[in-house]
Every structure is written in C-alpha cells, then in structure tokens.
Amino acid sequence: MARFYLEKGKVAAFIAHLQSQKTVYAPHRKGRNAFAFAPVERPEDVVLDYPRTVSSIKKYFLPAREELLSFNLVENTCAQPAVAPLDAVFLGVHSYDVHAVLKLDHNFVAGNPERNYLTRRQGALIVGVGFTPDRFHFSGSVGIPAGDTTGCDLFLHPCEGGYALEALTPGGEGLLAGFPLPAHAAGLPAAAPFHQHIYVPQAKLKDVLAHGYDSEVWEEEAEKCTSCGTCNLVCPTCYCFDVEDAVDITVTRGSRERHWDGCLLRSFTEVAGGEVFREEPADRQRHRVFRKFKYISDETGEPWCVGCGRCTASCTAGISIVSIVNRLVNDYDAVKA
C-alpha cells in the first residue's frame, strides 16, 4: 500500500487527527528516565523516539489488576463486570511489542478462549514506529527487525526530517482520511544495527535448551537473583496471574481480582497447603527461559521472547537472558560441534 511523508512539524496535528476519531494511547515520559503508554491528552506530550516503555501495551488488553467478579454476601449474588472492545488507536508501538500482542492472541485463543482479553482486543488499530536499538534490544535475533510492520495498520519509519508513513491495512488508510499528506518517494534509511545477538535460529535453540537443562548456568544466575519477579512482570509475552478475593469493610460485598504474577516468584509456586513446587531459584530461572525458548516454541516453531530487552534492562542484578542463552549455545557447540 501507499507510503506518505509526515514531516516532524506535522506530527502533533497528525496525532490530533487520530484523537478526533478514537481514543489514542501512546508513549509518554514517566518519572525521570522512563516511558509508559498512557491515553493521549495533549499531542505534544507524546514521545515517539524512546528506548522502551516500562510495560508493553499488553496492559490494556490484560490489565495489571482486573476485577473478574463482584459479589454480594448478603444477597448471595455475583456479577461479571461489562467488558467492551477498546476500539482505540495504539500509537508509537515498537515492532517487538506488536509481535508480543500477536503471541498473546495465540495464547488466549488456544484452549479455553480468554473472553476479557479477546473482547478488549477487538477494534484495536496499531500505528507502529521504528526505533534505534539500544544495548538491551535484540529483537533482530528473534526475527523482528526494528522496521518490521507485521500486525500494524500504519507504520512510522523514521527518516530525514520526519517519518515515512506506511499505510498497511484498510483500517490504517481509514485513519488517514481527511489528513492529506504528500507521497514519500525516497527509499527508507538503512536499519540501525542491534548490539545484542542470539546467533542461532529457534530450530537449533530447541536442542540447545534441551541440552542445557542441567547446566550450571541456572545455579550461577540464581546466586545473583533476588527472585523479585520484575523480569516476568515487565515481559510483554508473560501472562501468568493470581486471583484474590477482597471483601470490603462492611463485610457485605467484595470483588474477585486477577493480577499479574510471575514464575520467578517463590510465592507463585506456592500452592494450597503451603507446598512450593519449584523451590529452587535456579529451577525458576530455568523455567522462565524455557517458557521463552522451548515449551511454547517447540509447538509453534517460534521463540516466545520478542527481544525487547525489558527483563534485562529492569533486572537490578543485571541478569541477562541473552547471556544465559548464548552461554547454553556455547556449551552445546563445545560438545556437539
């Protein structure tokens, strides 16, 4: 489909044009050095050139905290809250986060369809944006270049003086109606290089991980790990949760809440009766990495990590998933080569 030129000076007007049609969620500065997706109030607050957001746009489809039920203990009744399609534009999403949503779609359609997630997902239009990889990104190694437009309706390729705006779907073209733009005739600038790499394809990682099940790397990394769970909570393809009932102070009504949880947390592996089924931090670290490169990947043939680098960038202990995987690759090659 068509490619247009959106000069920098017109970006705010473009965002306002999107706002006139739908709610727009986009990256904003949060705190001093962080970024987070938030509903756009003023187009000039949107940041399109950012390294990564704290959480991905997953939080809109699978909220960090979500009420599943409200109940009344006096009348003995309960009700599910209404869940509606978001019908919104997600602006300024990096390619890896779009891929992460597509992976969650797969997870939530398969088996028992996840009603709330799938309902909210309906009508979401995605405007992707290219990025310059920093020292943590490695999505190129898992098949997701910075300029990958998969899953997007529109895509903003950064170029001299602004963006090459690519229309990819009829939904995306619809968003442009009434906002005339000149065609972008020039080609796209060469993609900036990644600084982190996993050099082997998923087909080989399958064997590498099987071989590394008893590797010493799990214990070595566990010694540095506080089991804080941050790496899970920030991961755009993690979807584990816990469910808790809360009763209000009148003891007449309450609600059932679902919130994100993660496999690195000891309490996550604690079940009824106090049994902890994955007691060792090393086993939990292995489980996380296998969830990203083995278990679901063996079924789908794809890595379930999108290379966003969040887990590594946010780990206060500096534990790097790329280093872990590469260490396993080296160990494998040393034995099998």
Binding site: K30, G31, R32, N33, A34, A36, V54, S55, K59, A64, R65, E223, K224, C225, T226, S227, C228, G229, T230, L233, V234, E244, A246, V247, D248, I249, T250, V251, H259, W260, D261, G262, L265, R266, S267, F268, E270, P281, S314, T316, A317, G318
Partner: protein, 248 residues
C-alpha cells in the same frame, strides 16, 4: 452478627504510630467498631478481660516485663495479630541488638542503668506464637483492613509473599534505580502497593524480608550501585536487624 468477636488492643515498645486511634482510618473506624466488641484497650479504657477472640498487639518486646505480659496475652487469646514492623520484626528497635546490650544500656541510661533492665528488642514471634502479621512502619492500613475483614468472616488472612517490585511493576512505575537511587524492593514483602517508589522514594524495607530472601544478592546489588558493603548491610538492618541474624 450475633456474637461479635471480643477484641483487645495492646502495646509494647514502639512509637504507638500503629495504634488504631492514631491511624487515619476516617470513616472506616466506625465500620470496624461495628463488627467487634473492644473489651481491653489501655489507651482508651480501664479494665482487663479474661478471654479474647482477637488481640491486636503493637511494639517489640524489650524488657522482662514485656515477656511476662505477652505470655499473659497469648494465654487468653484465640487469634494474636502482630501490628506493625516493631511487633512483626522488632522494627527499628532491633538496631540496638547489633551492639553489646550493656553498652546500649549505659549509653541510654548512664549511671541509672541498673534501674532499667533491658533485653534485645524481639519480635512477638520470637516469644509466642503469632497467628497473623500486619506489616509496615507504620502498619499498612490496606493490609489491616484485609486482615480485619478476613478475621471477622472467620477466614485465615493471606500473607503476601511477593516482593515490593511486583506491586511497583503492576503500577508501571519507573524503577528508582533508573534515577541513580537504591531500593530494597526486590527483597521486601509486598502489601503496601509499593507506596514509597510510587512517590519517587526508595523502599527502606519496612515490611520485612520476603520468605527465603537472597540477602547476599541484594547486598551485591547495593554494592554494584555504589554502596560500600558496610553501608549495604546497614540499609538492610534498618528494619530487619533480627531477620538478618536469624531471629524471627
């Protein structure tokens, strides 16, 4: 409710910042009182009771008299609830435990030290069985309300075991390490909704350590972010001097 639980409220060594009347419960206090009958409360009423369904106890144990009283309370109480960091971990008081007790006594009371017997500051759980903890300095109101409603309903409250980091991430916060600060969130027990990092402060660990904390890893993180090993230890000791020594 036909039989309201009989409740006693007690205090030991602490700043009394956790006591119910000190906390900003506003409208909720009336709802709370609706569900229980308060039969013993030094702050607000005379008299003692022989039997209690629930005892809320704040403060650390730091004198021989404290030990005697906590045994008395335990004997007559069905459910004993420790309120706040002092009662749960020994709190800030426990900082005195890291130095010889005689030296501490001398510094505080000088030549009158023989009039004031003192012991290392202990959490209630070091002396009697504690059924429920409400953590925090001052205690986390959110957790108090959860524990309270569970007890009124006759259910066992669930004690959070996750880290403060999890709650911080649920709120999409910027990690304070990104701003060059340090934080004890990775090894501190959740339940406060990560209130300090949410307001741009760091977590000092007031809610105590998570179960099976990797203290060495936390120290390494603090050192990697510029603290000396000694300062790292001191940061961790502020609210957890007892736990670090294996007392809990």
């Amino acid at each position: 409710m036909a039989n309201k639980p009989r409740v006693g409220i007690f205090d030991f060594t602490g700043c009394e910042g956790c006591e119910l009347n000190q906390l900003n419960f506003e409208d909720q206090l009336l709802d709370i009182l609706e569900h229980v009958e308060i039969v013993e409360w030094r702050e607000a009423m005379d008299g003692r009771s022989e039997e209690l369904d629930i005892a809320f106890v704040e403060g650390a144990l730091s004198t021989p008299d404290c030990i005697k009283r906590i045994h008395e309370i335990r004997r007559k109480t069905k459910v004993l609830v420790a309120l706040g960091a002092c009662a749960v971990q020994g709190g800030i008081n426990a900082l005195k435990n890291i130095r010889p007790i005689e030296q501490v006594r001398e510094e505080v009371y000088g030549q009158d030290k023989y009039l004031f017997p003192t012991l290392p500051a202990l959490p209630l759980s070091a002396v009697v069985k504690v059924d429920v903890n409400v953590r925090g300095c001052p205690m986390t109101q959110l957790e108090f309300l959860k524990v309270f409603t569970a007890l009124v309903m006759g259910k066992a409250p669930i004690e959070p075991g996750n880290s403060v980091c999890t709650e911080c991430k649920l709120k999409d916060n910027e990690c304070v390490y990104e701003k060059g600060m340090i934080c004890l969130g990775p090894v501190t027990r959740a339940g406060c909704d990560a209130q300090c990092p949410t307001f741009g402060q760091y977590c000092t660990g007031c809610r105590g350590l998570v179960p099976e904390p990797n203290v060495e890893a936390m120290q390494e993180i603090l050192v990697a972010h510029g603290l000396s090993m000694d300062d790292a230890r001191k940061k961790l000791q502020l609210f957890n001097a007892n736990q670090l020594e294996g007392v809990s």
